[in-house]
Amino acid sequence: MKKVYIPAALLSLLGLVDALYLTVEHLTGETVRCTILSGCSEVLSSRYAVVAGFPLASIGAVAYFTVFSLATLAAFGYRAAGTLLTPILSAMFVVSLWLIYLQAFVIREFCQYCLFSAAITSALLLLVVIGRFVLKPASV
């Protein structure tokens, strides 16, 4: 079981870097400028990019850090941390689906960093679900 949490911790680090990058770009105003390489401005300058005064990306960074912490603790044998991962990642996955819906049907633009984050969350959930419910504890 522990072995699943090591790649989960590493994956969540990738998500953390992605979310931190978006947070920094949001705070410096760079992602809200249109550029040749990125279509993020439409998404990140939309009203959905800020929740209760906080950049959505910063909330994502907190979520990824939480997942990283729990996965690290679980990898070192803290079983309660592993149990918490599934509901947290499920919530993050639902939020990711909602954000993809917003990008596809409301804003009608995609931000590659947001899609990357959704992919990371999906992979994390898949990994943890496989680890907890599919693989037998002795073989994982």
Partner: protein, 239 residues
């Protein structure tokens, strides 16, 4: 030791995350500023939410399309040059701010618009730039420019914008048949290309990018309250 090792790892990652975020944002003076979430026009002149930063270094760049599209008197002490993309939302949000500045500063502000369509980020950006340039050949560039920005949200999601822009051409009172010929002409494409080359020579990477008397205005200063201060400072310096 093994019991506390995960906590040490977590603390190290937390410190690295917060440290790098702080390092990368330390040049930002205050809360997030998004063009489009500007200070209200009712805000008192000169009022600032963030300190005004220094403009970038002077850069003459290579010439753009000639003649350029300009507003105001050439003798004005403040020359503002915008590189814009009609499909870019922050450019659309900046449009009323620039209008407001032109009203406030009158003949002290000279404005030039340069085409910088972001292809392929924006699927209709080149068509919109072509529409504005084609209208310009009939002396109605600014009318088309204003219409494209004012109705950006209406046309940017359309599949075929050609007929929409032809409707705009009719609305601003130009010869639509000539417009249809001009919009795909070499002359129009050359003008857009030339403005793009000028933008690249000035280091323009995104839109809107604004230069004031040849020096780039930091993006986060493109709010009414701060741009007003920046322009005023340039005018004072020219006295």
């Amino acid at each position: 030791m093994k019991r506390i090792l995960p906590f040490i790892i977590i603390l190290i990652v937390l410190a690295l995350a917060l440290g790098s975020a702080w390092y990368l944002t330390r040049s930002v003076p205050s809360a997030p500023t998004v063009v489009g979430q500007q200070a209200s026009p009712q805000q008192s002149p000169g009022a600032q939410t963030t300190p005004v930063q220094q403009l970038g270094p002077f850069n003459a760049g290579i010439p753009g399309a000639d003649p350029p599209h300009t507003h105001g008197q050439a003798s004005a002490p403040a020359h503002l040059e915008e590189f814009g993309d009609f499909e870019c939302p922050p450019c659309g949000a900046f449009h009323p701010i620039l209008k407001q500045m032109e009203q406030e500063f009158g003949d002290k502000l000279h404005v030039t618009f340069r085409e910088f369509p972001l292809v392929p980020t924006h699927q209709h950006a080149l068509a919109a730039a072509s529409a504005a340039e084609a209208a310009g050949l009939q002396g109605k560039f600014w009318e088309m420019h204003d219409l494209l920005y004012d109705r950006q949200t209406a046309w940017k999601t359309q599949f075929d914008v050609r007929s929409v822009f032809e409707g705009y051409a009719k609305e601003i009172g130009i010869d639509v048949e000539r417009y249809k010929r001009d919009v795909g002409s070499d002359l129009v494409q050359q003008r857009i290309f030339q403005d793009g080359k000028r933008g690249h020579s000035l280091g323009v990477k995104g839109t809107p990018t604004v230069f004031l008397n040849g020096r780039e205005v930091p993006f986060e200063q493109l709010q009414a309250d701060q741009l007003r201060v920046v322009i005023q400072r340039e005018i004072e310096a020219k006295k």
